[in-house]
Every structure is written in structure tokens, then in C-alpha cells.
Symmetry: C2
Subunit: 472 residues, 2 copies
């Protein structure tokens, strides 16, 4: 509004001042440049600067002091606000919408929009055995903080698994983290500064966007194809924007289910090297693959690729533990950062439980069962959705998601809000899309699509004309 | 060096450019102001700007482009470095030193510098019962992420405990966090921006400094007296610096063991209100008090005071869980931030274990035992240290620490480094001190001071002349 009313030059000056305050070039109590000097700097007339200062003073950002000029106000910035709405009930369909709705839903709500397997698919008997075994641990394990890198036994198992995937990691390359999400968060804190540019896939896991917003970085998207990012666009964006980081899932990408081809992977690494971009490969769905595909971390040998993962999708989302495999000097810095911000890593109890489950021998069998069941429900879900005119963008080779196009003219955010009123949490396309170009898409968790009521609700909400598609 | 060689005006110009790059007013590839314009802005001659630009180009920060001016180089900033040394073995005695040495020490190392009770003081039987009970939980608890605020049962128990302490909190005031440390970290991320000023006690818990460094804020210290911060200094600092946050322990302060008096608390809150400073009250040692003392959160009613805590000191440091009690609108923002950075809060398994232990009835008895034992070992430790000329600054009314002055002329960092070579981890004064004025102090954990070898090593390392007091 101000911009329209006051003309470009005045708002240029206002933005320059706002920028200097936001960038901490000017702090509370600091005197602004004199009218005359700033007019010269900006190449505008002194009266334009007077108008800009007056308007900023009216906004409260600066204040005039009789006879001595303008000063930055002492008022602190408001708290960091990430989401679009304060009240979770009425909140907008932003990247927090699916998280909040699915984490806090009651037992009667159906959640095909969520990102985890149903409890009865999980290895609960093995988990109970691991917990009972934990109760017999010695006092030291039960009483003390863990070591700064985390459980040696679990790290040993992970190094073996990394080696199986062709990733040459030693003890210095690995640190356990509280969660997989926190693994990425630590990396962002370690490598990014406010104002940096970060590249993500478009679409990508919605929480990447929420997290990057918390880091106050500029987020750029690259279109995801069936074989990874659109490689020509990827190369062009890297040379144009030189992003500090690219965050991705190489295999069974969330939400599309697509997997990197070797050719695309090779070109990606060359472009990253040429532009000094670091790649974070979140390999959380790795064990859902029928057979291993190309890993950036394997090709690159953990030079500029950082690999992260967790056990939330395969063992339990309640036992929280993640890991980072990276260059040893970065791992040292990440360990310090995890001490500073969390006084260490995961609960030693959590690491012990996961070690017990991974070492127990039943893990391979469990994942085979999960994969077999997923093949069946993926096919069934695709068929049932197809009858409603909802078509998968790709039939993925593994994983829990189907990324689907809705019938022409439907807005998936409206469909999701209407379905929520009927007790079904969906994951509408644009929460995944930096460019907001996925309004016609929806992500479905095929393991939670067996309930007939979901299809009834979908059919119902898709029939309504758009104008009546808001919740009562 | 550059500064000395080139005179003030050139280095002023260089610093102005560095500041604009650091503050993101100028990004990689951006053109610097023309020589003539910048000379006018800075009030220096064009030749000074030329010299400054040339020197910055030599440093690689900017580059000259033939006939078109100077541009910011594309090189990204180096990763955030928190600690003074990369190699943990040789690292300097900084705020990470005690954490790293005590978390990663082997079983033969004695750790009177650490901040936790020995395992055989902890309620391990109750913990084992809680774990066995956890193994009988239903599948949903064992398989799923928790809700965004954390376990309702644990929050109910915590609200009761807050009410006992006179803190009027409702369900909207509370969120569980992964750890107590992370509780503070979330608050810092929510409320602070790089360059803000934060006030801490001098001395204060060393990890507060490590964390605040990660937030890239300016840290100011206020001297701690026997009754809380030096209140006159506190008032003067608040009006001079208007810090955004003050982070403190009101009761059984770490490392001094001192406790806030009601008069000081009242004046602190008035000064905080007058200067718009928010106070974080880390109440982690609350249950070590013989009887409750003044709580800022109780006086203030959670308006501008945020209370945080955890169970690491009382139940187990291996079961990680913390909490934040604060204004409802801040709690909403903190929940979003915890989703973005950790996809939720503590492990539901951890919350379940803690709920079981707190609700079990044995907790009060356990803490009574701990307090009784601490009275005895505190007195014994003080006597034994006194024979070595080491005197407590204060005999605290509770808690695990004695903050002691070493005999005149001894540097506690050197003493700690020499003791480490003999297998004893100590906590030297300056890791707690923003002003680095506690070089003659040492913090002792009285629960870990029963081992005679500690006194032998102390006597030995204190006898050595300073010149030979570095590790072999």
C-alpha cells in the first residue's frame, strides 16, 4: 500500500533503510545518515529522503529527535513467525498445515496425508523385546548423557550399512543426532547464514520449506522429473544463484516417489562442484527400495555431499534418533553445535533400542514384508483413485507415497480443507511446492488408503462446486 | 595487522564494506558503490577508497572487473565455528572444554568437573520399572510421533508442579521439548536475531555462552552476588544495553549455588519491564532446594518470564525431555519452530518413562535422599578442599556445586589441563565467565568429590610452578 501511494523513489529509500536495519548495519539507537548524505548516496532529492524518513517514523521503525536527526527505534523485532496463522484450527494451508493436522489428530481421524506407516505395520514385538532388554542395561547407560558422537554400537552398525551402500565412511564421518529432522537443522545452522540461497526440489517434503524459513534463507526450487531434478534447470540455477546448499531425497523422493538416474546424479555432482554447492541427501526412505539405486554420497565419497537419515519410517517414529555422515571437519563442528544447542545427541536409551532392533536379525525380514505389502496397497490405491479420476504422476518403485493429479479444475487445498471437516487429513500439493504450482496435486500415503470412508469422502468433496468447498 | 599498516580511514572503509557483506547488504556478485560515491558517503578521499578496495580484493573478499568496478566475490562464508580448537585433544579451555571432556571421558577418568550425579545416586530401580511398564504400552504409543505439545499426561503432571510453585500455567502455556538445552535454544531462535544483546550472569553455566555464540548475539555479563545478580549493575546494564533476553538460574545458580532474594527479584522484574527485556528462568535445580525460594516466573505470572526445565539432574540424563512454560502466543510459535526443526518434541517413550517415574510416588522420597546426601558431601568436600587452601565463595543451600577460590596466583585453566593429564576432569572458572574474570575459581561437583585420588591430584597440580603446569 505504502509503495503504491508514495512512488518508487521514496519506497526505494525506505527499503534501503529497512534493509540496513534488518541487516544490522543500523541498530536500535543508531543515528540515520543525514538527509543530505543519504540523498547523495541514493541519487535522489533531499525531499524524497525527508518523505521516506517521515513515513518510516510514522511506522515506528525510526524516530525524529528535535534538531538532531533521525534514529533507529529501540523496539525489538517481533518474535520469529513461521506459520501463516496463529490459531491451529483456522490456520492457512501452509507447510505446517499437514504436520499440525496429522500429529494432533484424534483417533477417529483418518490420515492418508501423513508420512508414516500404521502402527500395525511396525515391528512392535521386536520393539517391545528391545525395550525389555533395555531395562536390563547397566546403571551408567540408564543414568548418563551419551557421548558427543552417540552410541558406539549404533555407529558401528551404521558404518556397516553405509559401506553396503558404497559410501566409504569411517568413525570420524559420523555423528548421531536427536532426529533426522534435527540432522538437517544442524547442517543448516552450521553452513547457512540468513540471506543465503538454498535449492530444493519442486515439489519437496513440506517441512524442508518450514525449516528453511526458520533459517531465514532464500529458497529456490528446481522441477522434479521422474529421474531426479530437471538437470538442465538444475545446472542453470546453480550457475545463476550459486546456492550454498541443495537439499534432496535421491531415492523414493518425497512426495513424488521418483529416483535419481546415474546420469543425472553425475551431472548434478559436476554442477555442484563447479558452483561450490553442498548437497544434503536425506536418505530416509532408502530401505524401502526393492534394490539400491544411485546415491550421491556414494559417487561423491562424502566430499561435498552430506548424508542424513533416521529410523522413524522403518522402526518407530516414537524412538527418536537420526544421523549425519559428512566430512570429518564438518562432523567436528556439528558435534560442537549439537552440544551448544542440545547438550549432546539422541537419548542413549533410544540408541540402545535401535541398536537392539537393527542387530537383532529380524530387520531385513520386517522390511521385506513392508515392501511386499506396499506393492499390493500401492496398486490397489492407484486403481481405486483412478475410478475417481485421480491419476498418479508416477508409479514409484517403492515407498509409501503416490503423488497424484486431481481432476481438472479442483484445488487440492480446498479439497483438503473440506475433507478435514469430514475427519480426513489429506496432503495437498502446494504445501510441497516452492513455486505453488502443484495446486492440482495431492500426496497419498498408500499404507493408509485401505479405509473405504476415505474414498467416500474424496468422492463427496470433489463433487462439490468450488464455491461451496470451504468447511462449515 | 592490516589496520596498523594502513591507517584508520582506510580500515574504516574496509570495515564498512566487510560489515555490509556480513550484514548481507551486499551479496556475492553485487557491485560495490563507485569509488566517488563511497568516498562521499564515508567522508574520505577517493584515493582512500581505492586503497581499501584494492586491499579487500587482495584478501579475496571482492574482485575488480576491468572497466566496470568492484564486485563481491562468490565465495561462501566458512562454516560456523563455535569452538577455539578443531581437535578435541588439544583444544583450548573454552566453554566446550568441560562438556567435551566430561561427556567423552572413559570409565577410569574422575569427573568432579561434570554437572550430573553419579549413576548410583539415581533412581535406577524406578527407571527400570518405568521401562518395563513402557514395554506394555499400546502399539500407537510405541510406533507414532508424539503430539505437537507432547504427552498430555506429563504436561498434566508438570502443570501441577508449576501450580505448587505458584506459577499460574494452563495447558496453553506449556510445550514439551527434546531437552532442557533445546528448550532454551528454541526460545533463542524464536526471540533473537543475530546482533541482538543477551545478558547472562557472570559467572554462568558455560553452555549458555556456547549456545549464544551459535546464535551470533552479543553477550553481556552481570556480576552474580549471593542474592542474585548485582541489582544496581543489572539496572544500569538494562537501561544502557536494553538486552532482548536475560538468561539465568534463579535458584541454586550454576556454578555459584546462590539463590535470588525476593527484593532483588522484584527490582529485576521492574527493570526488565522498563526496558522490554524478556527473562528465561532455567529452573533445572529447583528440586534440589530444601524449601522453595522466590521464582521470577511466579512473581511475573509468565508475562515476560519464560520458565524452562528438565529431568536430567533428578531422574536420568539418558531419558531426554525438557519443557517450556510461557505466554500462549509464544508457545504457539515455539511449537511451529519445534516442528520445523525437529518434527515435534521429545520421544513419546521418554515422556512415558518420566510420567511413570513422577507419578509413581517414589520421586519425593528419592529427592529427599539426594538432598540429605548432598548436605553431607558438601560439608565434607568443603573441609577437604579447605585443607588445600581452596575455599568456597558461598556455602549453597542446595545443589551439587561448590564454587571455590583457588590459592592466590593459581590459574584454574592450567590446573584443569594438568589434572586432565592425570585423569581428572575439572571445571575451571573462566569457562563460566563472560568477562574472563574467574581465572582463580573452580567449580566442584560435591557428589563426585568422595574419591581420595582427586585430592592427591589437586594437591600435586597446585604445587607445581605455573611454568611447568602444562600437560606433557
Amino acid at each position: 500500500m505504502t509503495t503504491i501511494a508514495t512512488g518508487t523513489r521514496t519506497s526505494d529509500v525506505m527499503n534501503a533503510v529497512r534493509g540496513r536495519i534488518a541487516g544490522r548495519m543500523l541498530g536500535p539507537g543508531d543515528r540515520l545518515p543525514s538527509i543530505r548524505n543519504f540523498a547523495a548516496t541514493m541519487g535522489v532529492s533531499p525531499s524524497t529522503v525527508v518523505e521516506a524518513y517521515d513515513r518510516l517514523a510514522a511506522e515506528g521503525l525510526i524516530r525524529a529527535q528535535q534538531g538532531s536527526g533521525f534514529y533507529v527505534s529501540g523496539t525489538a523485532l517481533p518474535p520469529l513467525k513461521l506459520a501463516d496463522a496463529e490459531n491451529p484450527k483456522s490456520r492457512a494451508v501452509d507447510p505446517f498445515w499437514v504436520s499440525r493436522q496429522s500429529l494432533d489428530a484424534d483417533d477417529t481421524t483418518l490420515k492418508p496425508g501423513c508420512g508414516w506407516l500404521p502402527a500395525d505395520w511396525m515391528p512392535n514385538d521386536a520393539l517391545r523385546r528391545a525395550i525389555r532388554s533395555l531395562a536390563r542395561s547397566d546403571d551408567a547407560l540408564l543414568a548418563y548423557y551419551g557421548s558427543t558422537r552417540g552410541s558406539p554400537a549404533l555407529r558401528r552398525l551404521l558404518l556397516g550399512r553405509l559401506a553396503e551402500n558404497g559410501i566409504p565412511a569411517g568413525p570420524d564421518n559420523l555423528v548421531l543426532t536427536t532426529t533426522g529432522t534435527q540432522a538437517l537443522d544442524l547442517i543448516c545452522r552450521f553452513l547457512l547464514r540468513p540471506g543465503d540461497t538454498v535449492l530444493v526440489d519442486d515439489p519437496c517434503y513440506f517441512n524442508f520449506q518450514a525449516m528453511l524459513k526458520a533459517h531465514q534463507v532464500k529458497v529456490v526450487g528446481v522441477a522434479r522429473t521422474h529421474n531426479g531434478p530437471d538437470i538442465a534447470a538444475f545446472e542453470a540455477i546453480l550457475s545463476a544463484h550459486r546456492p550454498r546448499l541443495y537439499v534432496t531425497n535421491s531415492t523414493i523422493h518425497n512426495p513424488t516417489g521418483s529416483t535419481l538416474s546415474p546420469q543425472v546424479a553425475h551431472r548434478m555432482l559436476n554442477a555442484a562442484a563447479a558452483n561450490d554447492t553442498i548437497i544434503v541427501e536425506d536418505d530416509i526412505f532408502a530401505d524401502f527400495e526393492p534394490e539400491p539405486s544411485t546415491r550421491l554420497a556414494a559417487l561423491d565419497g562424502l566430499e561435498r555431499v552430506i548424508r542424513i537419515g533416521s529410523f522413524s519410517k522403518t522402526l518407530s517414529a516414537a524412538v527418536r534418533c537420526g544421523y549425519i555422515a559428512a566430512r570429518p571437519d564438518w562432523v567436528e563442528g556439528l558435534i560442537d553445535l549439537q552440544i551448544a544447542t542440545n547438550f549432546g545427541g539422541p537419548s542413549p536409551l533410544a540408541s540402545e533400542i535401535i541398536t537392539h532392533m537393527l542387530a537383532g536379525g529380524g530387520y531385513r525380514k520386517h522390511m521385506e514384508d513392508v515392501r511386499r505389502k506396499l506393492v499390493r496397497v500401492r496398486r490397489e490405491t492407484a486403481e481405486r483413485l483412478s475410478r475417481l479420476g485421480i491419476e498418479p504422476w508416477l508409479m514409484p518403485r517403492g515407498g509409501i507415497y503416490l503423488w497424484c493429479r486431481l481432476p481438472e479444475g479442483l484445488d487440492s487445498a480446498e479439497v483438503a480443507q473440506t475433507a478435514l471437516a469430514q475427519g480426513v487429513v489429506l496432503a495437498p500439493g502446494n504445501v510441497f511446492s516452492v513455486s505453488q504450482s502443484a495446486g492440482n496435486f495431492m500426496r497419498f500415503n498408500v499404507a493408509l488408503m485401505l479405509e473405504p470412508r476415505i474414498y467416500t469422502v474424496l468422492a463427496d468433496v470433489m463433487k462439490r462446486p468450488v464455491s461451496s468447498a470451504s468447511p462449515a
